[in-house]
């Protein structure tokens, strides 16, 4: 039995080494403490009320600069999404989703005249990007490109914690640090500040510069469910929403995973019994 455990331990160990090697591959940045997420752990799920609040923050603040190209309006009404309502058979029928979609003007071609037109959105349409293309986005943002938010929470080490940290982590630049025009110091941003630092070369401040001005503030968004709308609450809610946007299949994945794990444990147990029974009379050492 000991040898069997060794085999298993070796396999797990190898995976662990590989994983931690990758995790350690990026330079360590401080991560601000954030509330535990409802979606943490193998049984975690999204908190629908939080996703709705987060969507509101995205809609009212982030969406003026950040696109969310991979998401269609209908996704908001998908199972586990912010506006999922089991009474609708399909998210396309969802009244709330329809209303959200209608607020957007979608570029289209008139079927009869061939003219470029704008029409109200339908649930099947995708979110409309605030800028026509990358060049336009950069031109309006001092040369910086506001990243697309569809996968942002998976495209950054730390995921929602990282987003929360950036949004809440703006900090006055330490004395001796020259902040370029149009930039802000943020200790959670990745970067190397040594060429902007006049002090002790061994004490270069952590963090980097970010082109985005502090986007959220106390009371910037008022939530319909009367929950607190201080900076931290807004940041937490929008981070959770972005995690959902990046990984909408998480709940389905974890639920499937539970069934699969139970099956595999039972299956392996049965096979082990079968194996032992079969080999019991074979002297194989």
């Amino acid at each position: 039995m000991l040898r069997k455990l060794t085999v298993l331990a070796a396999a797990v160990g190898l995976a662990f080494v590989a994983t931690s090697a990758l995790a350690a591959s990026t330079k360590e940045e401080p991560v601000a403490p954030s509330a535990p997420w409802s979606f943490d752990g193998p049984f975690g799920t999204y908190d629908q009320a939080q996703l709705q609040r987060g969507y509101k923050v995205y809609r009212e603040v982030c969406s003026s600069c950040h696109s969310m190209n991979l998401l269609a309006f209908r996704n908001l009404g998908d199972k586990g999404g912010p506006f999922w309502d089991p009474k609708y058979k399909s998210s396309v029928e969802n009244g709330y989703v329809k209303a959200i979609a209608k607020d957007y003007q979608i570029a289209d071609i008139d079927r009869d005249t061939g003219d470029a037109i704008k029409r109200p959105g339908t649930p099947a349409d995708h979110f409309v990007a605030p800028f026509a293309n990358e060049a336009a986005a950069r031109a309006s943002n001092g040369g910086a490109l506001p990243p697309d938010m569809s996968l942002l929470a998976r495209a950054r080490e730390g995921g929602p914690d990282y987003i929360y940290s950036i949004v809440t982590g703006y900090h006055p630049a330490p004395a001796g640090l020259t902040v370029p025009a149009g930039k802000f110091y943020n200790p959670y941003m990745q970067g190397d500040l040594s060429s902007f630092w006049k002090g002790d070369p061994n004490k270069v401040p952590v963090g980097g510069f970010i082109a985005m001005p502090p986007p959220l503030a106390d009371g910037k968004v008022s939530f319909d469910d009367k929950s607190p709308s201080d900076l931290k609450a807004e940041a937490r809610d929008v981070s959770a929403f972005l995690m959902w946007a990046a990984d909408p299949k998480m709940e389905e994945r974890k639920q499937t995973g539970l069934a699969v794990m139970i099956f595999l444990l039972v299956f392996s147990g049965i096979l082990y019994a079968s194996y032992r029974t079969l080999w019991r009379n074979i002297d194989h050492h």
């Binding site: 396309v92 009869d112 299956f267 096979l271 009379n281």
Partner: protein, 205 residues
Amino acid sequence: MGASRASPVSLKAGRIEGELKVAESLADSASNPGHAGDDPSRRDFIHIVAAAAAVGGAAAVAWPLIDQMNPAADTLALASVEFDLSKVELGQEVTIAWRKQPLFIRHRTPKEIAEAVAGDHADLKDPQTDAERVKAGHAEWLILLGSCTHLGCVPLFGQGEYGGWFCPCHGSVYDTSGRIRKGPAPLNLAVPEYAFLNDKTVKIG
């Protein structure tokens, strides 16, 4: 006692599962002495359970691999369209794309409606009245899937001896209700699921 009851079970299941080999090798195994206390039937049973679990697991994995070929969520989301009927002149037809197929929206004249109703009593291959093929109170609007029921070509508007459609591929002729009147097609042109949202807007799908 237990042995005599369990052995027919194992024999039957062994035949089914093709895992008989397991049982056979055990039974035949000459290096099997000294374990007279073993219950052979129980030992067979665990192998059958193992094989059944493997088959069950494989079957469960098969479903996602098959279901992925069904229409994806983005395809299903586009499955319904709303259409403004005021764009179709009397006596004309507009073809729009619906589920990547042509959809005929025909604004019938009173004469065409009368012909269609008259055809209700003809010898029809796929008997259906004109009233069954339009919405009550909206007899002037005929909405059909533009796909010949023979082999899927797009029938031509206003052609053929019944004033309905004519399919250029194999010569099927449809009347002004879209019913098959002549030629190889077995069925009438299909009427999709649709509803009038108001007098001028129809939602298809």
